[in-house]
Symmetry: C2
């Protein structure tokens, strides 16, 4: 059992991840910029779920999972930067630029994960993951037909998040350094395009041919 | 039956694509910078396969498929630019930067497909595809467990290449505009990482949840 804060945990992806982590037996707290919103969403998730403003819930955790829209990424990372300590920060940010969310528009730095690296500084253990999982599919709790690509320059932290994902019933796959997050971030626009073009209800991505992939829990 | 030039057709991917197109009944020519090399490879593919230098074979085709390493992309596109006419140019270039080929390193323009757009000019019908198919798997001819993402700003040209891929026994998927090619190009480094990390013999990518995807031929 890990102690996990879901920062931006009042959104669709954050709620779905929190719900799944709770089911997997972890101790979860919901963070928001507004304490009342965090409290309300925590109550909906059941008894024993912590809550508070982002900087508060990020303190003393094993993992801090950041699930905010791209426009809120910089502000949220600034909020938690000084309280995360040794926790592994898992950034899920996809750099979508509305209204053209079906168009890949990666930032000049290469990807949102490298921007997070810049914002948090080298001292923070940073992993990037969960970019491609459809929130509503995860929330339904019947399993998700989608792999979770996990990126980090910190190999141990990356392995810990792969294991965390597997414990959530997902297949986590170590997929290289933080710079490689560009692939997963870009894929999200492709999946949105597929949802529209091929009338998919939450398109996903699977990798084939892996002979020593970690088992799905 | 289409008339198709495979430019850079002496490489692994080019040979595999040419072989598959010939099997599917198309009239194929192999292009190279060196005429003798093109002739030799064409002979290996069987009788009736055309050959010549790139600018030559690119003339009068329905499709011109460019399968060269990133370092040769600009030169090759310059070679064929004035001879492709109304053909659909299919660029397969992945912007790998050796020796770190497992690291996503997209160019400043966003992706190799957008660089191709710049190099060829607006007058050429440009599609980007076949970035993720393992050449040796395709060459084996037993089917490939990998979707083919197809990108273009020209919707008709994109649909034609989706159909071409399906005719090759692959699942082609329209995946948006040329800018979206960044996703498939970046994915190639992930697949190379998987081949090493998960001891895969040609990792591939499949998309899930698509309800109206084109049938695989």
């Amino acid at each position: 059992m890990a102690k996990i804060a879901v920062v931006g945990g009042t959104g669709d992806l954050g709620s779905a991840i929190a719900r799944t982590l709770i089911k997997a037996g972890h101790q979860v707290s919901i963070g928001s910029r507004r304490a009342e919103s965090a409290a309300q969403h925590a109550a909906e998730l059941g008894p024993g779920v912590g809550h508070g403003v982002n900087a508060e819930v990020a303190r003393g955790c094993d993992f801090v999972i950041v699930t905010v829209p791209y426009s809120a990424q910089a502000g949220t990372l600034a909020d938690i930067k000084d309280s995360v300590g040794d926790a592994i920060v898992v950034d899920t940010t996809v750099p979508l630029v509305p209204p053209k969310v079906m168009r890949v528009q990666l930032p000049a730095a290469g990807c949102a994960a490298l921007e997070a690296r810049e914002l948090l500084g080298e001292g923070v253990r940073l992993v990037s993951a969960f970019h491609n999982v459809a929130a509503h599919k995860l929330a339904e709790g019947h399993g998700v037909d989608c792999d979770v690509l996990v990126f980090s320059d910190d190999v141990e932290a990356r392995a810990a998040v792969v294991e965390l994902a597997c414990g959530m019933g997902l297949r986590g796959l170590a997929a290289g350094s933080l710079a490689n997050s560009a692939a997963a971030e870009a894929l999200t626009s492709i999946l949105i395009f597929f949802n529209k073009t091929y009338k998919a209800d939450g398109a996903g991505v699977r990798f084939t041919g892996l002979t020593t992939a970690p088992a799905v829990a």
